[in-house]
């Protein structure tokens, strides 16, 4: 049974029915014992009363009322059957049925009654008492005096008799009725308890149903959703707290993902819209060669930018999917940095920028050059795009394993420099540069540098925005 409700109901019901059954059996046993004790006491009283009617007078035995037959006895003394034995002579007298029926002959020590269950004529169950006694002897005063004179006791000592007295067992049918009543009561109580327990457990577990309803009602498009239960039981409160914390985390992740998706959608669709509209305008009517040339040039720039953006996005997707294998080898820093700078040199020159190189000629780095190239070219691209015309770009390596690219982009502050790696953050200056940067490049850089085992930071010094990449130096085991 997998249902908590079912388990609770079954468990509690089993416990209650077991207790009821035990208590019932105990009560039944006590009542049985008490009823049989009462029955035996009455039987014994009859036996004692009859015992006193057996007399011995000068060798003559007088069985008294026992002679009157079972009908009279039954009526007078409430006895159904009897056998009276004289100890040495066998059966002395018996109820008429008793003579034809074998009542067990038994007796305990003198004057001590013994009780037994017996089978009576007609197959009825009965109860019998066996008693061994001395017949009563009536002594005259002279006889008593003679005995006293002879030094004997004056207590009469008649012949020894054994009396077996049986009575139909009227307790057993009563007990059978009682047993049926008890079983009916037990069954009724069990059913009643079951219904009550089911209702009770259902009531007590209602918070679980409410929780289920609330969880079922959560919508993935609505933010700020939390689960709340009025008068939540203490056991559920930690569960609710954990659920709400989980919802917060899920919501934050969804917001991040949504922002990233929006950002990516914006960054992909806007250039495509630009490309489409430039070509549409160009082809909408006959244009001059100059106009076609400008439209083609602009389209080419946008296509190149889209290509750059798509490559960045693909790299990011690969890294996030963990589908990346690094191929590290020793790289001489200065030649590769100069080689990677080449595509940007023309743009920097066209914008009148000054490029300052400060790299130790012997600087080497063990890294994956393909991934490092993505990082460095993103930094170069930002530098060329955002530095105002005539500004200075510095490409430095002031210590082993360290690359610094500084630009004079406007708008970056100490406060915003911490957010530049956020995938959804773009400096307003980035919007006006005309190159329409995606705002995802630095986020990608951060991911790649982390993958390479280093860290990337951004800071502002005077009018320079400095992006510093710190990687593990060749032969070194720590981050320098």
């Amino acid at each position: 049974m997998n249902s908590l409700r079912g388990r609770l109901v079954a468990g509690i019901l089993a416990g209650i029915t077991a207790v009821l059954a035990f208590q019932g059996a105990l009560a039944f046993a006590k009542m049985r014992a008490r009823l049989y004790a009462e029955f035996d006491r009455t039987l014994l009283q009859r036996a004692v009363a009859l015992k006193f009617s057996v007399r011995e007078d000068k060798g003559r035995i007088d069985v008294g009322r026992l002679d009157k037959g079972p009908e009279v006895l039954g009526h007078e003394a409430g006895v159904d059957f009897f056998h009276l034995y004289q100890q040495d002579n066998g059966l002395l007298t018996a109820s008429s049925e008793g003579t034809n029926t074998v009542l067990p002959r038994f007796a305990g020590p003198p004057e001590q009654a013994v009780f037994r269950d017996v089978l009576l004529p007609g197959g009825k169950k009965g109860r019998a008492v066996g008693l061994e006694f001395n017949a009563r002897v009536d002594l005259t005063k002279r006889q008593k005096a003679e005995r006293l004179a002879q030094g004997e006791t004056t207590e009469p000592k008649g012949p020894v008799f054994q009396l077996v007295l049986a009575k139909v067992d009227t307790v057993a049918p009563m007990l059978a009725g009682l047993q049926r009543l008890f079983i009916l009561l037990w069954a009724g109580c069990s059913v009643g308890s079951g219904i009550f327990i089911y209702w009770f457990v259902r009531q007590r577990l209602r918070p679980l149903d409410q929780l289920k309803c609330q969880l079922g009602g959560l919508r993935d498009t609505v933010s700020g959703q939390r689960v709340f239960l009025r008068q939540a039981p203490a056991e559920l409160r930690p569960v609710l707290d954990e659920l709400n914390r989980l919802l917060e985390r899920v919501e934050a992740a969804l917001v991040r993902e949504r922002n990233l998706t929006s950002s990516v959608a914006h960054e992909l669709r806007t250039p495509v819209a630009g490309l489409l509209n430039i070509l549409e305008v160009a082809l909408s009517r006959p244009r001059s060669v100059q106009e076609y040339h400008e439209a083609s040039k602009e389209s080419l720039e946008i296509a190149a930018r889209l290509n750059w953006l798509i490559n960045n996005l693909l790299s990011m997707t690969r890294i996030e999917a963990g589908n990346v294998q690094l191929h590290r080898h020793l790289v001489e820093l200065e030649p590769v940095l100069r080689q990677w700078w080449t595509p940007f040199a023309a743009r920097a020159e066209a914008r009148g920028m000054r490029v300052v190189w400060e790299i130790e000629p012997a600087a080497k780095l063990e890294t994956d050059p393909e991934f490092l190239r993505v990082v460095v070219t993103n930094l170069f691209d930002n530098a060329v795009s955002y530095t105002p015309e005539g500004g200075t770009i510095r490409i430095q390596s002031d210590r082993p394993g360290n690359i610094l690219v500084s630009n004079q982009a406007l708008g970056l502050t100490a406060a915003t420099s911490a957010r530049v790696f956020d995938p959804c953050w773009r400096n307003d200056g980035a919007r006006e540069s005309g190159s329409h940067h995606a705002g995802l490049g630095l986020h990608l850089c951060q991911k790649i540098v982390a993958l390479l085992g280093g860290r990337i930071t951004a800071r502002v010094r005077e009018q320079d925005s400095i992006f510093e990449v710190s990687l593990l130096m060749a032969g070194s085991s720590t981050l320098l």
């Binding site: 498009t221 929006s262 959608a265 914006h266 960054e267 992909l268 669709r269 806007t270 250039p271 495509v272 819209a273 630009g274 490309l275 489409l276 509209n277 430039i278 549409e280 305008v281 909408s284 009517r285 602009e298 720039e301 946008i302 307003d428 919007r431 006006e432 005309g434 329409h436």
Partner: protein, 224 residues
């Protein structure tokens, strides 16, 4: 007609502005939210084309600002986000239409024209003033079945006057709806173009449709 375009992405901005201009409309261009807000606050437009992701002031903020001051100028939103909630948020804030990037300029232009037709309550794309017919789609004008050749400026002036036919239109209104805001303001420029237009519309034996209301402005209507 005059539109305000607020878009931060230069290639898109210039191509859309060029297309609107070639439609015969005047167009003011805002490169960011702040500049867009300035144009909104200082000039009247027949339609505003608004990008949502803008530097300095976001597009939705601009929309809220515009509607907040009771300005009902039709607004068409340009958005790169195509989720239902992104699109409906703009419409809920009072935008009249939206286009998801990338879009075709022909579609944007058709929507601009539709918006203007609705604003001036002239559902027919062909405007008629007496025997004068202006086909706003083909940008062709003919009077009494005779096709006229108008310059872009003359056409723009005529279309605006035809949209407001039967009403006296001041020079300032003409200036505000036919010329870019950053141009040199000169009332005599309007007079000169009205003069050109009047001459071109004139046909011997036909009534003069474009009349001067001295001290008030001009009115295009069929004389009673």
């Amino acid at each position: 007609m005059k539109a305000l375009l607020i878009e931060d992405y230069k290639p898109l901005r210039t191509s859309v502005a060029k297309a609107i201009h070639e439609l015969g409309w005047a167009v003011d261009v805002g490169v960011d939210g702040e500049e867009g807000q300035w144009f909104m606050d200082h000039h009247a437009y027949d339609v505003i084309i608004l990008d949502l992701m803008l530097p300095k002031v976001q597009g939705l903020e601009l929309l809220r600002h515009l509607r907040g001051k009771g300005d009902g100028t039709p607004v068409i939103i340009l958005t790169a986000m195509d989720a239902v909630e992104d699109r409906t948020r703009g419409l809920d804030l009072g935008a009249d239409d939206y286009l998801v990037k990338p879009f075709f300029l022909t579609e944007l232009m058709a929507r601009l024209k539709a918006r203007v037709r609705r604003s001036y309550q002239q559902p027919d794309p062909t405007l008629r003033v007496g025997d004068l017919e202006i086909d706003t789609n083909a940008r062709q004008v003919q009077r009494n079945g005779q096709v006229m050749t108008l310059t872009a400026r003359e056409y723009a002036l005529l279309e605006y006057l035809a949209r407001r036919q039967g009403q006296v239109v001041t020079r300032t209104e003409i200036w505000g709806h036919v010329y870019e805001s950053y141009g040199e303001s000169a009332s005599n420029v309007v007079d000169v173009y009205v003069g050109y237009l009047r001459r071109k519309l004139h046909q011997p034996g036909r009534p003069q449709l474009l009349q001067t209301r001295r001290g008030h402005g001009y009115i295009l209507q069929e004389p009673k």
